[in-house]
Each structure stands twice: as C-alpha cells, then as structure tokens.
C-alpha cells in the first residue's frame, strides 16, 4: 500500500481529502441536526453556476464560485428566516437554478467539457500544493469559528427558540454557518465534486449518530469515519482505477451499511 506514497499527486490527494474529511463533519453536524443537510447539495449545485461563470470569463473557477456560492447561502438563509417560502422549497429552487445556470454557462464557455466535469465529479488527483494551502488555511479558520461558537450552535441545533431566550444572536449565527458551509463546499468541489459533496457530508454523520451517545461523540466519530472513507476510497481508486470521488462515497456507504447491520 505504501508505494502509493511514492506518487506525489497521491500524497497531495490524501492530504486534501483528509483535510476535507476533518472539516466537513464539524460543520455538517450542525446542519444535519437541524435537518438542513440539503443546503450542502443546493450550495454545491449553485457553486457549479459559479464554476460556469469562471470558465466563461476565463477566471479560476474556484474564485468565481466563491462569491456566488456565498451569495447563494445568504439568500437561502434569508428565505428560510423570512419563512415566506419553506426551507425545503428554497433549497430546491436554488439547487435547480444553480445547476441550470451552470449547464448553460458551461456550454457557452470555450473551456473543455472535462474542466466542468472535474467540478461535477471531482478530480482529487489534480490537486496542487497551492490548493492544499488554501484549503488548509480556510479549514482552520472555519474550525476555529465553529469551536468559538460551539455552545451557541449546539443550543440552536437543540432548540432555536431556547437559544434566542438565552440571548444568542441566532439569525447572525445561522448566516455565519451558511457562509462557512458555502466556502467549504466550493473548496471541496475539485476534490469530491459538486454532485458528491453532500454524500460525504451526510453519510459519515448519520452513521456516527447511530452509534454515538452524544453530539460531541458523533462529531469525533464522523471525522474518523470520513477520514477512513477518504483514505480507503483513494487507495481503492488508485489500485482499481476508478474515479476517486465516487470511490470515497461508496466506501462511506459501505461503512453506513455495516453500521446498520451492527446496530439494527
């Protein structure tokens, strides 16, 4: 197995994947707890529209996707808080809109179709050291923000009204969580792909939640499971020759199925 470490692209892939696997459960737990994990899917689709813009105007797709996805996250949260449209409907609208815009823009751009496909399904093996530095820095900042607001986020996950009574600025914290989610989604695009990111977010957390006794335990176990899925998935992809993003998600699913069998 160790011979894959002789390939620097695999070392970078393992590093980038592990950073994402470490970060996503920390943020994702608070989304799943509020039955809001679909926001990741919507944002991932919306970020593809940003990728389309980047490809069209010749800007690095990730940098074009970042502001567009953050704007999408803020809009989704705004609609949810206004309650004119249900949270579920606003997610569905943003998801369809994002993908439709992405497909149209990608077809108009002169870039090759494989550029767009790499954001759809991920292309972890093309990760550069610059990508890793950017990802690590953003992940670190996101984790610090979440840890700093851990008690407030936990209280909101338990009961939003109760959190308000305790004096937390619930709306502001919800916007903050949506923004961080958007940033992490965009940076994970190239690695696991827009279509698979929500699977990596949801499956390890749901698996961990089935066998944990507390919220903190769930986060820690979900991190371990996500890192495991990334490492096993990448190794399998390398030796069997299949797409890394898909392999990572399939391993996550296998672990989930095993957890179902262990604890019925």
């Amino acid at each position: 197995m160790l011979d894959i470490l002789n390939y620097s692209f695999m070392v970078r892939a393992l590093l980038a994947g592990s950073i994402i696997a470490l970060t996503i459960p920390i943020i994702g737990s608070f989304l799943v707890a509020r039955r809001y994990s679909l926001i990741t899917d919507s944002l991932a689709h919306f970020s593809l529209a940003g990728v389309g813009v980047g490809l069209l105007i010749g800007v690095e797709p990730v940098f074009a996707a970042l502001p567009i996805t953050v704007a999408g996250a803020v809009t989704i949260e705004y609609l949810r808080q206004k309650r004119d449209i249900s949270g579920e409907s606003s997610l569905a609208i943003m998801m369809s809109a994002g993908l439709a815009i992405a497909v149209v823009l990608a077809s108009l751009s002169s870039g090759s179709r494989s550029d767009f496909n790499s954001f759809l399904f991920g292309s972890i093996t093309t990760t550069s050291w610059n990508d890793i530095i950017l990802l690590a820095a953003t992940a670190l900042i996101s984790i610090i923000i979440v840890l700093f607001n851990y008690k407030a986020l936990l209280h909101i996950a338990f009961d939003e009204d109760s959190a308000r009574i305790y004096g937390y600025k619930v709306n502001l914290i919800n916007y903050l969580l949506a923004t961080i989610t958007a940033i992490i989604v965009v940076l994970s695009l190239r690695i696991v792909g827009g279509l698979l990111i929500s699977a990596l977010l949801t499956i390890p957390i749901i698996t961990a939640a089935r066998i944990s006794n507390s919220f903190l335990q769930t986060i820690i176990l979900a991190i371990i499971l996500a890192v495991l899925a990334v490492i096993i998935g990448l190794v399998a992809a390398f030796y069997i020759g299949m797409p890394a993003g898909g392999a990572i998600v399939i391993i996550s699913l296998l672990i989930f199925v095993i957890s179902l069998a262990i604890k019925k």
């Binding site: 936990l154 996950a157 308000r164 749901i206 939640a209 507390s214």
Partner: protein
C-alpha cells in the same frame, strides 16, 4: 433610550424588587397580521407563585408566553422583566424530539451552565441524576420534561414557563412531575403552566389566569371553580368572570 427613560426604568425595577415581583405586564396588546391576538393584558408574577394559564385554542396563550420570553417584540415598558435571561422555558413536547444527532442529558444541561457542580445539583433537584449520560431523545416524555426543567434551574431561572408539559405523559409520571414543581415553588421559583387539562391545573396551582384574547379571570382556583360551576346553570360565565377580574383589578 434617553437618560430620563433609563432612570424611570431603574425606578420601576427597584419597585419590582421591593414587591417580590419577577415580572410585570402593563396593558399589553398584540396584533399579528391585522388580527388582534391579545388585548389589554396586565398582570404581575411574584416569587413562588404557581400560575395556571388556561384558555381555548387560539386564545393567545402561546403568544403571551412568547411575549414574556422576548420572542415577540413589544412596545417599551409593556413587559417589565426583572429577571432578564433568568426565565426558564420548557416547550411543548415535540419541539425538541426526533433529533437527527443524539444529545446527551449532560450536554443539554451544559447549554445552561459550565459549572459542573451546578449542573449536578440541577439534575438532583428534578431527581434525574441517573439520566446524566443517557440520550435525550431516548428518554420518556416525563423524563425529558424533568431534564428541561433541570436545564432551566442550571441557568438560575427564577421563573419557569411550561407549555403543555403533561401531554402524552402517564399519570404516575405526572404526579412525580407535579411534586417536583411544587417543591420548586416552595424555594421561591415562580411557575406559569399552560395546559388544556383545566381540572389538573386547578388542583395544582395557586392562581388561575383564564385567557381568551383578554384576561377573563385572574384569581385563586377555588373561586374559578365556583364561577365555572355557576356558569353551567346561568350560562353567564363570560360576564361573571369579567366581573371577577374587574373586582380583582
């Protein structure tokens, strides 16, 4: 807020302290979407009072609770809250159920305090020490209510608001629950309990507030029973209760 207003507010809070008052509602009116939900609501809550808030569906009970809790904004000085951040709220069963991710009882009490001794003592007060490491969503309805009260106690609540706390809880658990509530009022904690189960409330509380947009009755349960009993013969419940309220005011 002007300096004058601040001073006025301070004076009224000092008065609240002097009278053992935790909360004072002054002529509260709430209109939502053009519909009047609450009209001319005024009452005070003193230390150790056990109040039953009753009324039909749509009477404005939840709106009143949300106003007291600060979840619905009101005109300045309508709600004089002497115990800011010290109101404990136990929501209707269901609002905290079916969690996707488990939370332990210790984690839930930890939301209210970082002090482990205080958390332990709060659990002890509601006879729930043995539940500390259990998952909240695997507890029975009665156990969940006790944990939520412990959460309030851990944050030094001097007023507890319980919204339909006995829904779906068996009689034996209800009795344990009510004994705990009574012991809390003896310690000076005020309780407002909202319930559809009027008979249970009347046997439990020391004061009844009958609400239907406005306060129809505010007084001891014994007199409310008489008023209710008489009304079944005269059919003049509304007038009688209003009259009683005016006498009380």
């Amino acid at each position: 807020m002007s300096k004058y207003n601040k001073e006025t507010s301070k004076t009224s809070k000092q008065l609240l302290n002097a009278n053992n008052n935790l909360l004072k509602i002054n002529n509260l009116n709430v209109t939502i979407g053009g519909n009047i939900i609450l009209r001319n609501i005024s009452f005070e809550v003193k230390k150790g009072e056990f109040i039953g808030l009753i009324g039909p569906n749509g009477a404005g009970k939840s709106t009143l609770l949300k106003t007291i809790l600060g979840l619905i904004p009101t005109a300045t000085d309508t709600v004089e809250n002497n115990i800011k951040n010290n109101i404990g709220y136990v929501p209707q069963k269901g609002s905290t159920k079916n969690q996707q991710i488990p939370m332990s009882v210790a984690e839930i009490i930890g939301l209210a305090t970082n002090d482990k001794a205080k958390a332990q003592s709060a659990l002890n007060d509601v006879d729930a020490t043995n539940l500390k490491n259990r998952k909240f969503n695997e507890l029975s309805g009665g156990q969940q209510q006790r944990v939520l009260i412990a959460k309030s106690l851990a944050s030094d609540a001097s007023l507890l608001i319980l919204d339909e706390p006995t829904t779906g809880i068996d009689e034996k658990s209800q009795d344990i629950f009510f004994d705990i509530l009574k012991s809390l009022t003896k310690r000076g904690i005020a309780i407002i309990i909202v319930s559809h189960d009027v008979d249970t409330v009347l046997n439990l509380v020391t004061r009844v507030i009958h609400l239907n947009q406005k306060i129809l009755y505010d007084g001891p349960p014994s007199e409310f029973r008489v008023a209710k009993h008489l009304s079944s013969y005269t059919g003049k419940q509304h007038i009688l209760l209003q009259h009683h309220h005016m006498e009380n005011a």
